[in-house]
């Protein structure tokens, strides 16, 4: 590579490192993300792994950028392929300007690359084996080449290694530094000299930003909102909520318990909630299915509980590491019998924090189950976000009675009929407040009752709480041109993809607007108003049955205006793919005939 003083300043770069599970792709991406972040860039990373510890194709992707981006970009600038499969699997995301660093230990680069792609081949694996006797150093060697290519200084790369590997011991650090040196040497051989990479990296002080996943943000939101009791059972992709809370909750006097199964999980959380403690569970599809009985029980017994569903590809065991939004029906309609519930849908790690605070407050106030609908990408992708504003949130206690209040009232009914349908709660231990809580139909005292008049009144009391709640449920966020005829609706990790697709469409001359619903149950007026003002609304979803669109239609949205864009292949959307789907739908005669199916390429 020749010296080029006119190198562009790094403003947006997408890098994939891919190989077999255990090859260390994630390590390379994690270190790159850390490093670029300390250089003042924002980052977003994504992982694509199989549900196993070693082997199978594994890739990690990182985007480093200035400004605001909320997803991986459409074009990969740099692919680091540690084997042939890594090239084959990821070639679709490359273009003629992409660069590939390829480990040719196993054979020449497969001929699947777009024309013009520049390839730097080197036998990382063989060099690692020959020089270091250990295959596992190949990613550290590759890191040297990648760092040089991106335009990072050798010293900066060394510092990152020291920071990352020091905690694993001096020996491991030294071996890795040696491997990094081999990488620099290799780069020199390929003509990639220090300071001659693709980009000029503007060294600026790192912005005060957090590098965090959605799951970790949920855990923190719960903690800040006064959540003090959490139960979970390990399940991909929700386990980080459990792990984060196990680390942090005890420091605040809370309990984060790994239970024997999800049945114990939700019921133990219910037991804690009965004492007036703010409680939460987190799980994914299979575990959420097991929890259904408990969910309905919270509805009937008016027990506050936050339930986090980190959705993955279903049905059944499905594809545990792949994103999907196919439990929406279960959140909105699941459980036997009729009961009130609230379903919130965050779209980015910072949103996860604020909506979890809301969810925790709402559960306590309305004494019902409140769901957070996550998806694997939102749960596990790492993003830089503005530090959470602790002054902008509050933990508001629900309607509670202390001993003195009960003394004054002279009577306590756990399920008292009230104007706002919410009955005050006295926590066990409060003198005078004896009560019965049950999933049986009950009277105001909590005693089992099948009296038909009471039954109807009690059912209405519970269901009407949601009507009261509507006014304060999190509103949707609006983006784009208010006058655009074409609208988007999409939740979860699709938030960033839709925002970026809108920019691309704008360049194609297609004006759009986007409503990111943050409450999908009950369906609020803001969604109806948005659909009303658009002539066509693309409801983008990661499921096969258009679950979100059906929920909206069920609640009165005009089906004639809704066009479904559905994806359920387990692959996260890139903005350009969404643009293509939309343009195709726009141009197809199907739309004109009023048919509503946009096929994904």
């Amino acid at each position: 590579m020749s010296s080029n003083n006119g190198r562009p300043i790094l403003e947006d770069v997408n890098v994939i490192v891919a190989g077999q599970g255990g090859d260390g792709s994630l390590t390379v991406i994690t270190m790159l993300a850390e490093l670029l972040r300390t250089n003042g860039l924002n980052v977003y990373t994504e992982r694509d792994v199989l549900s196993r510890i070693r082997g199978g194709h594994a890739a990690a992707t990182m985007r480093a950028f200035t400004g605001d981006r909320y997803c991986i970009g459409s074009n990969i600038n740099l692919l680091v392929a540690l084997d042939e499969e890594a090239v084959e699997k990821n070639a679709r995301q490359l273009d003629s300007k992409s660069i590939v660093v390829y480990d040719d230990s196993g054979g020449p680069v497969p001929s699947v690359l777009p024309e013009g792609t520049k390839v730097y081949s080197a036998p990382f694996n063989r060099i690692a084996m020959r020089t270091m006797r250990r295959e596992l150093y190949k990613n550290s060697i590759a890191f040297g080449v990648v760092g040089r290519l991106l335009g990072l200084e050798d010293e900066t790369l060394r510092e990152t290694f020291i920071k990352h590997f020091q905690r694993m011991g001096q020996v491991i650090l030294e071996y890795n530094l040696e491997a990094l040196g081999l990488g620099f040497h290799l780069a020199d051989e390929k003509g990639i000299h220090e300071g001659e990479g693709l980009y000029k990296i503007k060294k600026s002080a790192p912005e005060k930003r957090l590098l965090i996943t959605g799951n970790e943000s949920v855990a923190f939101g719960f903690m800040v909102a006064g959540g003090r009791f959490f139960c979970g059972y390990p399940i991909t992709p929700s386990s980080e909520v459990l792990e984060t809370l196990q680390k942090w909750l005890p420091r605040c006097g809370g309990v984060a318990r790994q239970t024997e199964d999800e049945l114990a999980g939700i019921n133990m959380a219910i037991g804690a909630a009965l004492t007036g403690t703010r409680a939460m569970v987190a799980t994914s599809g299979p575990g959420f299915s097991l929890m259904q009985e408990g969910v309905g029980h919270c509805g009937s017994g008016e027990i506050p509980l936050v339930i986090v569903d980190c959705q993955r590809s279903g049905p059944s065991t499905g594809m545990p590491t792949k994103p999907e939004q196919s439990d929406l029906n279960l959140m909105v309609f699941g459980g036997h019998g009729d009961f009130p519930r609230i379903v919130l849908t965050p779209g980015h790690p910072d949103d996860c924090f604020y909506l979890t605070v809301d969810a925790t407050n709402l559960a306590d106030k309305y004494q019902c189950p409140v769901f957070l609908a996550m998806d694997q990408a939102l749960s596990q992708n790492i993003a830089t976000v503005e530090p959470f504003n602790l002054d902008g949130v509050s933990a508001v206690p629900g309607k509670r009675l202390e001993a003195g209040d009960i003394e004054k009232l002279g009577v306590y009914k756990r399920y008292e009929f009230t104007e706002d349908n919410i009955s005050a709660f006295a926590a066990p231990g409060t003198p005078g407040g004896l009560s019965l809580v049950t999933g049986n139909e009950h009277n105001e005292w909590g005693l089992v009752s099948t009296d038909p008049v009471n039954r109807v009144k009690m059912m209405n009391k519970r269901m009407n709480k949601i009507e009261v709640a509507k006014d304060e449920l999190p509103r949707a966020r609006h983006f784009g041109d208010q006058s655009a005829k074409i609208g988007f609706i999409g939740i979860g990790s699709l938030f960033g993809v839709i925002l970026e697709a809108m920019e691309d469409l704008q360049r194609e001359g297609v004006k759009t607007q986007y409503l990111q619903p943050r409450t999908i149950w009950p369906v609020l007026e803001d969604i109806h108003a948005f659909i009303e003002k658009c002539s066509r609304v693309y409801v983008v979803e990661l499921n096969a049955q258009a679950q979100l669109a059906h929920i909206l239609i069920h609640q009165g949205a005009d089906p004639g205006k809704i066009v479904n864009i559905l994806r359920y292949d387990g692959i996260p959307y890139r903005p350009a793919e969404l643009v293509k789907s939309v343009l195709q739908a726009e141009n197809s005669s199907k739309i004109k005939k009023g048919k509503k199916e946009a096929k994904l390429q």
Partner: protein, 292 residues
Amino acid sequence: MTMQTHIKTFAPARPIWCAGCGDFAVQGVLEKSLHKMGIPPHKLMMLAGIGCSGTIQNNLPCYGYHALHGRVLPAAIGAKLANPDLTVIAAGGDGDGYAIGAGHLVHTFKSNPSIMYIVMNNCNYGLTKGQASPTSPTGYHDNPESGMDSILLGLSFPSATFIARGFSGNPEQLERLMGAALDHTESKKGFAFLEVLSPCVTYYDTHREWRARVYNVDEEEGYDPSDRGMAFQRALQLRAEGRIPIGRIFKGEHASLESLILNKAELPPAQQKVGLDGHREQYKKFIDSYMG
């Protein structure tokens, strides 16, 4: 138990049990034991499962909770961990505890929380009209299997600390056992497991049979409840002889769950005030740790 008099709350219900049901004895003994221990109703959280026995909380002045079928133990553990100052008693039947909820029983022996668990064992599903339960003997309603013995199950856990079996037909002994169980949990020693043979007069009246078969280890000279091997051996031997051991079968020592996992420097979860102020320092530390 007198502090409630001037405040009106739910009026404890009359039991729904059939005349002669063993559960009456359990409730009577429980009320006496609570009174003796001086546990006021507002400190008592009484959780019950699904089944005939799962209505006992309605009959007592307490904070009562009717759990989902089989889930009384996790709910009780959640309550205890959230507020360890409460006296937490879980109750249920053999179907609730040994069939649909068996997994939780295993893990409660394992984790040893300071809660009492009373299983009213009548060897059938009384509330659904007498189907075979996990403790029904071979041949009952054509049951092809042998009945299980949860005493043997509990004995296999190194963390088990209190295992006893009473008989509703022997209320004096039951009262001693219940008192010892309450004492065990109130002194924070861990899980008190008390199975009570409680005959179902309607679907499987075992009263006479059990009176003839029970064998009181409390009266056996040389029986040492702290000797796990002996407890296990006697239980097996008696079973082989067609006898049912009752009494204080095992007493062990192990740290209680709440003593192991609650942060003693902080108020327990249920006693903390809701609001941001208590732990701002920790929240700031959390944010800093993600700043890189």
